[in-house]
């Protein structure tokens, strides 16, 4: 909206100079005086009892300062699903048994990385291998090895969602189809590995921890739970972070072990994972078996949908239980679904656990739903755009007992896409096809499995005598550009410039709690908190201005362009700087301080607001080799009010890269619990040459839940790339797929099968 001074204007990154000069400091770059280096000894077995651990040789090695096993630790269990104690199932180090290849058993701190590594090699662990299970359908059986005591059939979590009468819906449908899918995992593959620097203060007994994390608060809870400390005695500071994408929400072994080793040695300890450890022992996308049944009227209207999912959870919970829930909800977006049933189960298996990765719950499920929808549309003779249009949600749509959608731009997005494709992609050459996929995602979750008593986001604004502002907020910029968004919101609210504000982010000791960067929550939730905090300051400024203008003035005052003035008589007003000075004088010399917070109340079961839209992929298939070239992408999205168009575009492009990777080439190959391709050489990611141009069209709406009407942008856009690509291939050569990772050999096989069936 043109009425804003800052919101909606392309704004360069407030951390720009630091990042382009190499001056930005990541945990990876940090050292402290007298620092030790930590390394972890990891299990070679997917499932085994720990019989004995002999650390004597390692302890004797010169330069080694501490060697710890699980039994040495305070024995606290921790995890993100803290509210349900049995699901907070992680340990600092495995105590009685190991549950996946790569699970840490011993930790060492030494004066150099080399010595720490040598020490690891000197440790002798005796294991008693146990039968292991790697496939969820096997893990659930009565005779499967039990991975966690008390969890028979290895069932970690179940979920059932239902509304309407699905059986009646199918009875009344003209067309019913069932499809089964296998959706494979994906690694978040951020550029900065997991690493933590922990420093224990002997005097106060307090820990200070710097880590590559998406949530300093979650990490504070994880460490304090693990080490049985008071939360307030664990300070977590998040420096710049080299990406997270959902893989850095959980407290991981680098953090808890660096913290505990620091407590034991009385020296700072740093633990840095290598890339192989990243691929083998850190969180990744939840793989699943998915069955989806859809019932449509002749005209393509959805009458009923039924979804059955069994997810491969891996050895612990992480955020995987949330993925199970979101999978069952986002598979319904963005369509009206009058009758719905979902049953999901998350099983433990003897692999590194699966958790949340960008678009969690939506990426695999939307792949299934959107490719099925195209096939159904084909059978019914309905255009793929038209079938989506007919079923699109409208503002105010409610899924009974689950969610409500306030602002909803999916229909105008579909209309715009139809128009744009007609203009832009006029001719298709041989074996070229166009595929569509619609999408939607949350702007932060209403969930409180972390069991926090605090508001979900808090912020504090301090205005100094010279009008400069210090903005304190625990929110995390992990690359998505939230630091810039934070400052923009504060600037807009106070009528000042981005350059007037210094941000103090992500320090649990000095900022009010924020739950971190996941589920696309920062713009809406932290944005609301910042707007509220700045709003408190604005009230003070307006009040002082009102007093100066005269007691009888009841007209509206505008705070803009570094002035506070009468909205109807703009020439009557004061400079922001003068008002600030006055306000501080009138308040006994105290700087102006505003505090704000935000927690979603009564916003349904998922989120206060949903970003949504539709993506189109044009692709060309080589029938001889099975190679697929993604030629062009158009994305039309509704993220409410875009706060920073530069940042939004960047995020849409990045999420599209990840979505296309999920569809085309990212494949975590495992065999009996062992990851076979733990490096960028063998784990294929989309690179510069393979990346198509992406046209982004914004369809603005206004969501009352978000700051200035803003909602999430660009976690939703992780989902449509793969199904739109699969649909493009389907329309190009008729090949159908029931899984992702469409490597050439899979595409060739599907083409041959189609040829056999006859087109």
């Amino acid at each position: 909206m043109s009425e804003y001074s800052v919101i909606g204007k392309p704004t360069t990154n407030v951390d720009g100079a630091a990042k382009v000069t190499g001056e930005a400091v990541y945990t990876f770059d940090m050292t402290l005086p007298n620092m030790l280096y930590g390394k972890l000894l990891r299990s070679p077995h997917p499932h085994a009892k720990i019989v004995s651990i002999d650390t004597s040789e390692a302890e004797k090695l010169p330069g080694v300062k501490a060697v710890i096993t699980g039994k040495d630790t305070p024995g606290g269990k921790y995890g993100l699903w803290r509210r349900f104690h049995e699901l907070a199932d992680q340990e600092v180090l495995a105590t009685t048994k190991v549950r996946f290849i790569g699970e840490p058993v011993v930790a060492v701190a030494a004066i150099s990385e080399d010595i720490a590594e040598k020490a690891i090699d000197l440790i002798k662990v005796e294991y008693e291998p146990l039968p292991a299970v790697f496939e969820p359908m096997e893990a659930i059986k009565d005779d499967a090895p039990v991975i966690h005591d008390g969890f028979e059939n290895n069932i970690n979590n179940t979920r059932h969602i239902e509304w309407g009468d699905v059986d009646e819906g199918f009875k009344n449908s003209d067309y019913v189809r069932e499809d089964r899918f296998t959706l494979f995992s994906q690694h978040p593959a951020y550029m900065e590995v997991h690493n933590t620097l922990a420093s224990y203060d002997k005097g106060s007994g307090r820990l200070t921890v710097w880590a590559s994390t998406q949530s300093p608060y979650f990490l504070q809870l994880g460490i304090s739970d693990a080490l049985k400390m008071r939360e307030g005695n664990v300070r977590v500071i998040k420096p710049h972070v080299g990406g997270g994408f959902g893989g850095k929400n959980s407290t991981m072994h680098d953090s808890v072990n660096a913290a505990f080793l620091s407590m034991k040695t009385g020296r700072p300890v740093k633990i840095v994972f290598n890339r192989e450890e990243e691929f083998t022992a850190t969180e990744h996308r939840t793989a699943m078996h998915l069955a989806i049944k859809i019932g449509l009227k002749k005209d393509g209207t959805i009458l009923a949908k039924e979804v059955k999912i069994i997810t491969d959870g891996g050895a612990y919970t992480g955020l995987g239980a949330t993925t199970l829930y979101l999978a069952g909800t986002f598979i319904t977006f963005p369509y009206k679904t009058p009758n719905y049933r979902y049953d999901g189960v998350r099983t433990y298996t003897n692999k590194m656990w699966a958790s949340s990765v960008r678009g969690f719950g939506a990426v695999p499920t939307v792949y299934a739903a959107e490719t099925q929808l195209d096939r159904a549309a084909h059978d019914l003779g309905i255009d793929p755009i038209e079938i989506r249009r007919r079923n699109a949600m409208t503002p105010g749509y409610e899924a009974p007992g689950q969610y409500m959608v306030k602002s909803c731009g999916i229909l105008p997005c579909i209309d715009k896409m139809e128009q744009r494709v007609k203009e832009k992609w006029t001719d298709l050459s041989k074996d070229e096809g166009i595929g569509f996929a619609a999408f939607a995602y949350m702007s932060g979750g209403i969930f409180n499995w972390i069991d926090t008593p605090y508001a979900f986001s808090g912020a504090m604004v301090k205005v100094n005598i010279d009008g400069t502002v210090d903005l304190f907020t625990q929110a995390s910029d992990i690359g998505q550009g939230h630091n810039t968004v934070s400052v923009m919101i504060c600037a807009e609210e106070l009528g000042i410039g981005v350059e007037d504000i210094r941000l103090h982010p992500a320090d649990t000791a000095t900022t009010l709690t924020d739950l971190g960067a996941w589920g696309s929550r920062e713009t809406l939730m932290n944005g609301n908190a910042i707007k509220a905090a700045a709003g408190e300051v604005k009230k003070v400024l307006v009040e002082v201005a009102r007093m100066k203008l005269g007691e009888n003035i009841v007209y509206d005052l505008e705070v803009k362009d570094k002035r506070i003035y009468l909205a109807l008589r703009p020439e009557r007003g004061f400079s922001y700087y003068d008002i600030v000075k006055d306000a501080i004088k009138r308040n006994d010399g105290e700087p102006i301080i505003g505090i704000g917070h935000y927690t979603p109340h009564r916003k349904g079961m998922i989120s206060p607001a949903y970003g949504m839209g539709i993506q189109a992929v044009k692709a060309k298939v080589d029938r001889e080799t099975g190679q697929v070239e993604v030629k062009d992408v158009i994305t039309v999205h509704d993220c409410g009010q875009t706060i920073n168009p530069l940042g939004a575009r960047g995020q849409v492009e990045g999420s599209t890269q990840m979505g296309l990777g999920f569809g085309l080439c990212e494949d975590m190959l495992t065999d009996n619990g062992m990851v076979l391709n733990p490096s960028f050489v063998d784990y294929k990611l989309i690179r510069s040459r393979d990346m198509p141009q992406i046209e982004l069209i914004d369809v603005p709406t206004y969501d009352p839940e978000g700051p200035y009407g803003a909602k999430e942008a660009a976690e939703a856009t992780t989902a449509p790339g793969a199904p739109a690509l699969a649909n493009a291939i389907y329309h190009a050569v008729g090949a159908e797929f029931n899984s992702n990772v469409l490597k050439p050999e899979k595409v060739l096989k599907a083409i041959r099968e189609k040829e056999k069936k006859g087109r």
């Binding site: 359908m137 009565d142 059986d167 049944k293």
Partner: protein, 73 residues
């Protein structure tokens, strides 16, 4: 409308399917052991429910609960 209580805890519902849904959402040994006494397997019920379309898991358990769930006055 009559109300029925879960055989293993205080959950009350007028609908046996609703009770079955509640029952299969419980992971404690009391609930699971009770299924065994009825000749049912928790794993089998859940597997039916999450791999087959329809409500086979809940339907099967609901039928048993119709007989076994005590009525609440």
């Amino acid at each position: 409308m009559a109300n029925y209580r879960c055989p293993c805890c205080r959950k009350i519902s007028s609908d046996h399917h609703d009770l079955a849904r509640h029952f299969l959402g419980q992971t404690d040994s009391k609930h699971k052991d009770w299924l065994k006494t009825q000749g049912l397997s928790y794993a089998q019920l859940i597997t039916w429910q999450v791999t087959e379309f329809g409500n086979k898991g809940y339907d099967t358990l609901a039928e048993v609960l119709e007989k076994e769930a005590p009525k609440v006055e």
